[in-house]
């Protein structure tokens, strides 16, 4: 069972998948936690169960004292207030950049949080894109907009599913730095999936390596003795 700790995110879930049973027990705080591992090791599925988009068979998910899932609770995704950004960004193509970012806010919140929104547009460097449509954005721009959209409603937890893998290698370092800066400034807990080992060790304060649905290796920043030489 989860301890329902107010400072931690606890994810203890079991789920039968096609090839294996996922059985994970991880904890992290207001930091960047990385899920890495080979393709098909259950990384994305785990992220989706935290978002509420898939249902575990058993276990518990607790985010800063709020129970998302346990034997008697199963919050729907709209009740969880997590930010979720997937690989392709998934911007709504019929809305402008500005309307995409405002999507998760209701009418009152749009007025109240204008200062916060201004900062988001500023720091993610998408101020000049407000009136553009997603179809005209580059991969890096689209992903920054997707990040702003996920952050706008002030989520309790940010879930990122390979957010940088679909974009140019040249723009990735800039975005990683941006993510790191924003995480440190706002202290929002981040759980990020990547199969890129270098990225995992550049960004991660805590790194969980999944293999066939189980945590095969768990590293903490400062305690990393060697970088695994295996590449996937």
């Amino acid at each position: 069972m989860c301890r329902a700790d107010y400072t931690m995110i606890e994810i203890k879930v079991k789920k039968q998948l096609k090839a294996f049973t996922m059985d994970v027990n991880i904890e992290f705080g207001r930091e960047i936690a990385i899920l890495t591992g080979p393709n098909g090791s259950g990384k994305s599925t785990l992220l989706r169960t935290v978002a509420g988009l898939e249902r575990p068979d058993a276990g518990c998910i607790n985010v800063m004292g709020e129970v998302f899932f346990d034997a008697s609770t199963d919050l729907s995704p709209d009740q969880r207030r997590v930010g979720y950004v997937c690989q392709e960004g998934a911007l709504f193509p019929w809305l402008t950049v500005e309307k995409n970012v405002l999507f998760g806010l209701d009418r009152n919140a749009r007025k109240d949080r204008s200062e916060w929104l201004d900062r988001l547009f500023e720091e993610l460097e998408i101020k000049d894109l407000k009136r553009r449509y997603p179809g005209s954005l580059s991969g890096g721009e689209a992903q920054r907009v997707a990040l702003a959209r996920a952050l706008a409603p002030r989520p309790r937890l940010l879930l990122l599913d390979e957010p940088f893998s679909a974009m140019d290698t040249a723009v990735r370092p800039r975005l990683r730095a941006l993510l790191k800066e924003m995480q440190q400034e706002w202290e929002i807990p981040v759980l990020m999936v990547t199969h890129d080992h270098a990225e995992a060790y550049i960004l991660g304060d805590r790194i969980f390596e999944l293999k066939e649905g189980k945590v095969a290796l768990c590293n903490e920043r400062g305690k990393v003795i060697r970088m695994p030489l295996v590449s996937y």
Partner: protein, 227 residues
């Protein structure tokens, strides 16, 4: 030779098509949603029922509707008790028959559009605080708008093009159930070929215009960059 055109049948055709399309929009959208997103036992059988009007001879469908709305059926008697007459040979009866007849032409494009919505958009909307109903209004509908417009146009055009069903259920009462296709047929029967030619030409131009717009829309959709 008289070249004066009787527009009344056209007006009835368009009135019928308009009423049918509005009803279909509200009936076909939930059906399309269920067929697109819900899996259930016997779904192919249900889908086959909804597709039947495409392959059935319109007279067969018209015959069943006529029986169903007549005073031999419970439904027909119930309607008669409330309104004092049956639906057979009335404009309202034509609407019921047209809804059944054009149903697949509304459901299928809308269902295809729903099935084509990027599931990532739906997931993202859910995590941004939308419940299922809000997700439908804010994401699934706007993402499917082209399919819905196609469904509307095809239902409208298909209803204007009805003949067999209308003849069976509505008869040919001038000003009430005599639609353009039937007026054309009667003109030919009475050997008034110039009238018939005008009507045929008008229906041909209308149908071609609708289909051109549909194909234009289709092309636009397939070249859209997925979000």
């Amino acid at each position: 030779m008289q070249l004066h055109m009787d527009w009344l049948p056209f007006i009835i055709s368009f009135k019928l098509a308009f009423a049918t399309t509005v009803c279909l929009l509200f009936l076909a959208t939930p059906v399309a949603y269920i067929l697109a997103y819900k899996g259930f036992r016997g779904k192919p059988l249900v889908e086959a029922v909804f597709a039947l009007p495409i392959v059935l001879p319109p007279t067969v469908l018209g015959f069943f509707v006529l029986i169903a709305v007549g005073n031999m059926s419970p439904v027909g008697r119930w309607y008669q008790n409330i309104f004092g007459h049956t639906l057979a040979f009335t404009f309202e009866g034509l609407i019921v028959a047209s809804i059944l007849y054009s149903f697949p032409f509304a459901v299928q494009p809308i269902q295809n559009a729903f099935e084509g919505v990027n599931p990532r958009l739906v997931d993202t909307a859910r995590t941004l605080g939308c419940n299922r109903w809000q997700t439908f209004w804010r994401v699934i509908l706007p993402a499917s708008r082209r399919g819905i417009v196609m469904g509307i146009m095809l239902s409208f055009a298909h209803t204007v093009g009805e003949f067999g069903v209308v003849l069976m259920v509505g008869g040919s009462i001038p000003g009430e159930t005599k639609v353009a296709s039937i007026a054309l047929y009667e003109n030919v029967e009475m050997l008034e070929y110039s009238q018939a030619a005008l009507m045929a030409l008008a229906l041909l131009v209308f149908s071609y215009a609708v289909l051109s717009v549909v194909y234009y829309f289709n092309r636009r959709t397939s070249t859209l960059v997925p979000g």
